[in-house]
Every structure is written in structure tokens, then in C-alpha cells.
């Protein structure tokens, strides 16, 4: 496949960036999207040019490091996959591919396509955990958990925190991410003790960091590589109302 790449290049967080066009030839359709970028970078290094910086780690779709906005969609034109699991067969020979970084005020660009997503870590630090004193491991069957709740909790816990929800949302809202992190505990008995302060503090931090407000377009759910459901947002709203009113 012969492709034309239009990639956002930005020297650092303070510089203003621009799109640079790179023609790329003889790309295998079986190549992954990140491998295609690796090939481009090899060419750039061979020409003594600065390689394109992009986030990646496991390349198995489980770490959440990919953060590429490809042709108007986070993680590109495939459904329920991260960019590392996207293959070039999803594109046609001669295509122009526009690659942009996630765009959101709380996700500043570090360099090229790499963005700072530590805003998500700050939200988690506010209560996305269960405080447990260390000690002997308790008998697992001491606290019974219903099958349905355990499944829903695991579904919510599948969130890899990649930020595609923020990138897809027209408002750069992080509510799908925050709701998943709240739901995974709200559905379990162990999560109940800190439930009220968790939802209040995490939502407060989310607002402070400058994420937008959800307007129920559900673009987040449509682009989530882990298929996190918007029902988590409804659950978070319920949790928040209960925490504030009761």
C-alpha cells in the first residue's frame, strides 16, 4: 500500500505545532498501525530527521498508552480496538491518513502525538481505590458478591484509561472514564465504605482539571476500545446524587 500521512508535529508543549506530510510506500496491509509508524520513523531516522513521537507500550491493546486520533476517530476506523490493534487493511491503497494527538485542555501535548494524560492519575488519586490495611488474606467467600454485580464491576474495571472517551467527546468530557472507575467499586460491597467520598472527590477533581460536561451524545461509548457502557455514567450520577443528598 502507498499512503500519504499527514501528521501533527510539535516540538514541545510550548511550541505551536503544524501538520507535516509524509509519503510512505510499500506498506503491508497486515502491518499494524503502530508498525506502520515505526517504518516511517526508521525512514526519518535514516534521513537524520526527528522521528514522530507517539505513545505506545504493550501493543496488545491492554495498556491504554495508544493515543492517536486517526482520520477523525480516536484509535482509527475500527471498532473496539486501540490503535496498536488497528491494521492497515482497514485503509485503502492511496489513502491520506490524518493523525492528530488527543485534543483536550487537561491533555496537553508533550511532543508530536504524545499527550500528558496524568490528569487521569490525579482523578484516581482522589479516590479510585479501596483503602485496605495490610494483613492476612481474608477468606474470599466471607463477602458474597452477586454474579450480575461482579460481571458489571469487571466490565467497568476493563477501562484501560486510554482517554479515547475524552478524545471522542465533543466536549472533552471524562465522565465515561470517571464513571467506570467509580462503578467498579460501587458495585462491590468492599467499595461501599468509601463510596460517598469517592464519587464526590473524583467528580470534584474532574471538574477542577477542566474536562467538559457530558451532553449525552454517547460518542465516548462508541469509541471506547473496551466497550465501557454509558450505564456507568448513569450509575455515577446516582451515586453522586445519593452522596450529596443523603
Amino acid at each position: 500500500m502507498d499512503l500519504t500521512l499527514k501528521i501533527w508535529r510539535q516540538k514541545d508543549s510550548k511550541s505551536s505545532g503544524k501538520f507535516v506530510i509524509y509519503p510512505l510506500k510499500n506498506i503491508s496491509p497486515n502491518c499494524s498501525f503502530l508498525e506502520m509508524l515505526d517504518i516511517l520513523n526508521e525512514e526519518l531516522i535514516g534521513r537524520n530527521e526527528d522521528p514522530v513521537v507517539f505513545d505506545h507500550d504493550c501493543r496488545e491493546g491492554i495498556c491504554g498508552m495508544c493515543s492517536l486520533y486517526i482520520n477523525g476517530r480516536p484509535h482509527g476506523p475500527d471498532d473496539a480496538v486501540t490503535a496498536c490493534q488497528l491494521h492497515m487493511r482497514k485503509f485503502k491503497d492511496g489513502d491520506t491518513i490524518v493523525i492528530e494527538p488527543w485534543r483536550a485542555r487537561p491533555f496537553p501535548v508533550i511532543k508530536d502525538l504524545m499527550v500528558d494524560r496524568s490528569a487521569f492519575d490525579k482523578i484516581i488519586q482522589e479516590g479510585g481505590y479501596i483503602s485496605v490495611n495490610t494483613g492476612g488474606a481474608a477468606e474470599a467467600n466471607n463477602i458474597l458478591v452477586g454474579k450480575e454485580n461482579s460481571e458489571l464491576s469487571m466490565d467497568a474495571a476493563a477501562c484501560i484509561g486510554c482517554g479515547a472517551c475524552v478524545a471522542a467527546c465533543k466536549n472533552a468530557s471524562a465522565m465515561l472514564f470517571v464513571s467506570a472507575k467509580i462503578s467498579q467499586f460501587a458495585l462491590l460491597p468492599q467499595g461501599q465504605i468509601e463510596a460517598k467520598q469517592r464519587v464526590k472527590k473524583m467528580v470534584k477533581k474532574m471538574d477542577e482539571l477542566g474536562f467538559g460536561n457530558c451532553t449525552n451524545t454517547y460518542a465516548c461509548e462508541a469509541e471506547c476500545p473496551k466497550l465501557i457502557s454509558r450505564s456507568n455514567i448513569a450509575r455515577m450520577n446516582r451515586e453522586f446524587m445519593c452522596a450529596k443528598v443523603i
Binding site: 501533527w8 501538520f19 486520533y69 482520520n71 477523525g72 476517530r73 480516536p74 490524518v98 492528530e100 485534543r103 483536550a104 485542555r105 487537561p106 471522542a168 465533543k170 466536549n171 472533552a172 468530557s173 465522565m175 467528580v203 470534584k204 474532574m206 471538574d207 477542566g210 474536562f211 467538559g212 460536561n213 457530558c214 451532553t215 449525552n216 451524545t217 454517547y218 460518542a219 462508541a222 469509541e223 454509558r230 450505564s231 455514567i233 448513569a234 450509575r235 455515577m236 450520577n237 446516582r238 453522586f240 446524587m241 450529596k244 443528598v245 443523603i246
Partner: protein, 223 residues
């Protein structure tokens, strides 16, 4: 109630938006009921009686203040949320988003803005006359503004009627998204109820605006 409920977080603002939106949807049905009186061939007797009741009943007068406050708060919150949303993405994408989203769900602020323009003209044509802020020569024998004559005169103008019809179609799109979004915001999302909420919202968004649209069509084409 914990006093911190009044501290407006993003979710609190959205919950208020949802409550007020549903409240306004109930009011719209009452308004439609009164407007449909215009279709009776009784020289406006029913419509004038309904307008008189709405203008003089003390319970309605109290309700009117709540309603007006509801409108203002719903509009203000909508604007505040939208400005925050614009600020959350200072650098836009070069390629516009191609993610599938429900029809017009991305444009609620714009459909809401169009409805607001209509609302202002509607207030100038009716509500401000009722309040005595704008004078109108059409008076009933009891000395009240004759809204039946005023409505007749307005609907006799084809341009006004066409704009009225277009605006109610836009309102229909606004309501179709708003109804299910309100319940989602209020935490009501369950596989057992979602389809029902979606269908009722669509039913409401078609039937209620259609009820309003019938009136100018009746005045233009039949009467």
C-alpha cells in the same frame, strides 16, 4: 439535605438541567391543551376562557413564576455548560469527529438557541402583553388582552406560520434527544426501561410539536 447540594459541580448542573427540562416538557402539554382550543369553531370562547383562567387564577400565577424561573435557569445552565465545554478543547481537531452519535445530539445548544429565539418572539407576542409590558389594541369586553384575535392575526401571516412550524420541528428534534438524555442524567439507565424511555421520548417529540403545528395549518388552509 446537605447544603453542599447547592455547590454546582458538573453533575449537579446537569441534574438541574434534566429536572427543569422534564418540568418544561410537562408544561408544554398544558400549553398545547390550551392552544388546541383555538381549533374549536366557537369564536374563541374556550380559548379566551382558558386564557382568562391562566391569567387570573392565583395558583397558576404562582406556578407561572416557577415556570419562568425554570425557563431562565434551564437556559442559563445550558449556556454555562456549553461555554465550559468549548473551553475544555481550546485546540480543535483538523478532521471533524466521525464517531456515530444519535441524530442532532451534538447540536442541542443550537436547537435550544433556535427555540430560545422563538420563545422571545412568543413572549413579545403574548406573555409581555399579558403582563402589560407591551400594549395591544385587541381587548376583550372584560378589558383583558384578546389573545384569540391576536393569535388569529399572527397565524393569518404566512411567514409567521411557516416560521412557527419550522421552529416546532426544531423543538421536536431538541425534545427527542432531551427526554432520554434527561433520564440518563438522572441515573435512570436500565435495559428494562431504556427502550420504553426512548420510544416515549420520540412519541412525545413527534406528537406534541405536531399538535402545535396543526394550529397554523388550520388557520392558513382551512379557516
Amino acid at each position: 439535605m446537605n447544603s453542599s447540594f447547592l455547590q454546582f459541580s458538573s453533575i449537579t448542573k446537569k441534574i438541574w438541567m434534566a429536572f427543569l427540562g422534564l418540568f418544561l416538557m410537562i408544561f408544554l402539554v398544558v400549553h398545547l391543551g390550551i392552544n388546541l382550543c383555538l381549533l374549536r369553531d366557537d369564536g374563541g370562547a374556550w380559548f379566551t376562557a382558558a386564557a382568562h383562567f391562566m391569567g387570573t387564577n392565583y395558583i397558576v400565577k404562582v406556578f407561572e413564576i416557577v415556570l419562568f424561573a425554570g425557563f431562565i435557569l434551564h437556559i442559563l445552565l445550558g449556556i454555562i455548560l456549553q461555554v465550559q465545554n468549548w473551553m475544555a478543547r481550546p485546540v480543535r481537531y483538523m478532521v471533524s469527529n466521525k464517531t456515530y452519535t444519535p441524530f442532532l445530539s451534538k447540536y442541542m445548544i443550537y436547537t435550544g438557541g433556535i427555540v430560545l429565539i422563538f420563545l422571545i418572539t412568543h413572549f413579545m407576542n403574548f406573555y409581555f402583553i399579558k403582563l402589560g409590558w407591551i400594549s395591544n389594541p385587541n381587548i376583550t369586553p372584560e378589558g383583558e388582552p384578546d389573545f384569540y384575535i391576536i393569535a388569529q392575526q399572527l397565524f393569518a401571516m404566512p411567514l409567521y406560520s411557516i416560521l412557527y412550524i419550522v421552529l416546532f420541528i426544531v423543538l421536536g428534534f431538541h425534545l427527542n434527544q432531551a427526554f432520554q438524555a434527561a433520564w440518563q442524567t438522572l441515573g435512570v439507565n436500565h435495559p428494562q426501561y431504556n427502550t420504553c424511555i426512548q420510544r416515549f421520548g420520540t412519541f412525545y417529540a413527534i406528537v406534541v410539536p405536531l399538535g402545535f403545528i396543526i394550529i397554523p395549518i388550520y388557520f392558513l388552509l382551512i379557516r
